[in-house]
Amino acid sequence: MKHRTHLVLLASLVTGTAWGMDVNATSTTFAQAWQQNRTGFSQSNYSPVTEYVAIDATGLGNPAISMHLYGWGLKDLGDPSSVYGKNTGDLTYGYLQYDFGRANAQLKAGRFTVNQGVGNELVDGVSARTDLRWGFAVSAFGGAPVVYKNNGPNQQSNIAYQHDVIFGGRLAWRAGKYGEIGVSALEDGSQPAYDLVPAQPVDYTRRQMGVDLRMMPVAWFDFSGRTVFDIADHPQPAPGVDNSRIAEHDYKATARLSEQASLTGTYVERNLFAYYAGSTLPTLFNQNEQGMFKATGASLTWNPKASLQVVADLRRTERAAYGDATRFGADLRWTFPDSHLLAGAGFHQVDAFSVVAVAPLVPAYSLSHNELRAWVMAQRGTLSASLDGILLHYADGPGNPELNGKSSESALVGSLGYQAKENLKVTGNLTLDDSPVNGRQVLGLVRVDYRFGSAAKGGK
């Protein structure tokens, strides 16, 4: 979206709030400061100031109409902290919504997040959804995908051109108390790379179809997940290349074993050619990496009493082009009886494959590592405090050329907050960080939250 359009949309939405019967606005200001001495780079001094604004206004002339806006702006007082320069910002979303009052029917227009079936996008356009009789529900959206300028001019031009339009929809059926099944489809871009003149090497368009389901046939069992298919037309692949049409299987099953315990199993399978379709960063998410990623996992959650929760987990991953890894460990979370103190701790170990053939003079190195974390939060009256410590140990620190000969990494984040008024809070964070890439850093942050309106919801 062009800057001028941004301004018009922003101005109209902000003006619209004046008509609102109930307006909630939150301003969050961050002032940060830190110095960076990365190996091989010159020293940088960063001091960005960032302002976030969130507005939710309901009853805009009609109780059914509401407006929602969220955006931020950043100004660097020191060196530029982003690739966008010293002054940047974004309108994350800004839309008008009409709620019909029955059937969860809803219309949206503006910039909003689409989250329906295979569609998980930011769109400048319109969307609609409603529940139907007999347990059916339908939703649809259309518009232009939000495209960010973060590539070279030629590549950016292709991305913008091929992401000219996006639309999709989902039809679902809710079967009594047993669960829900949905079928969805998405089309992003009208001109595949091979249709362009001249033909382009990278295709940024997508055409996908998905099936999602959630089943709870009995109270103690919950099964959910989705499968995504790539249904786009592709040029004939080279001999010996098998580009699967199944982009993803992602499933999870949870069994409640007792009042205190539950067991969850997960299975993920992703075929990289189909899964990476439409990426705006093909140099990183490369469709030419033939093969598959698979992950199987399990976790056991145990609540011996209401104030204590223990989760033990294990995840085995397989990447065809690299190797296998196993991550296992446990987390615990403890709420102290007076509820003023919340604490947690966890340990995880990752037994991972070795990366080989980095360069002729660099031997293979292991990606195995482990992580220890402990944190505590306290709240007493108008004061709040937190402390969060993380320690990482890399099994092959000296052998890994990306770790600059170091084997460990640590971070300690301390925070103090003061609720000056019901709608005003000031928080200060101090982070001490020692990492192989960035070395020792001290990072300071001051956060000021100011709220207008009643903030009936916010999800704190």
Binding site: A103, Y148, R214, M216, T280
Partner: protein, 154 residues
């Protein structure tokens, strides 16, 4: 021309009547939770028991914010957004899910270690390992947006 227009009008009218007839007559889910909730992760079934969430045909227990639910809430948010919206303002989702972000969610919420924010510590080091083990995990958030910092090196 008139005949085509008349046929189109009749078809649209009939389509609209059918559409209205098949729309559920049930009232929408409450836009706001009627009572303030205690801080922390809610267990919906503590108050609602085995009741069904109106219109979703799922039990309140299926929305309990268990560790598994918090870690993987993609599907419930996808299937039943109205249920999420009763307690969460849209900005709550944008804390993590933004197309272009100014800072890491873990930096923005550095005073909330209880929230499972990704990329705690100076993630620049660990991402080189995580990315080799599972690049598809990165793709979920950085594949089509929020990848300005990735593009600086990759």
């Amino acid at each position: 021309m008139f005949r085509k227009f008349a046929l189109l009008s009749v078809a649209l009218g009939l389509g609209l009547m059918v559409a209205c007839a098949v729309i559920s007559p049930e009232a929408s889910f409450a836009p706001t939770h009627p009572q303030a909730l205690d801080p922390g992760r809610p267990t919906c079934s503590d108050c609602h028991g085995t009741d069904q969430v109106k219109s979703t045909r799922k039990t309140f227990a299926s929305f309990n914010h268990t560790p598994e639910f918090v870690a993987d809430h993609k599907l419930p948010a996808n299937q039943d957004p109205a249920t999420c919206a009763a307690c969460h303002a849209p900005a709550f989702c944008a804390d993590c899910h933004g197309g272009k972000t100014a800072m890491l969610p873990s930096t923005k919420l550095g005073d909330r270690p209880d929230r499972m924010m990704p990329h705690r510590t100076d993630y620049l080091t660990l991402h080189q390992i995580d990315g080799k083990i599972d690049p598809t995990g990165c793709y979920e958030c950085h594949g089509r947006a929020n990848n300005d910092k990735c593009s600086a090196c990759h």
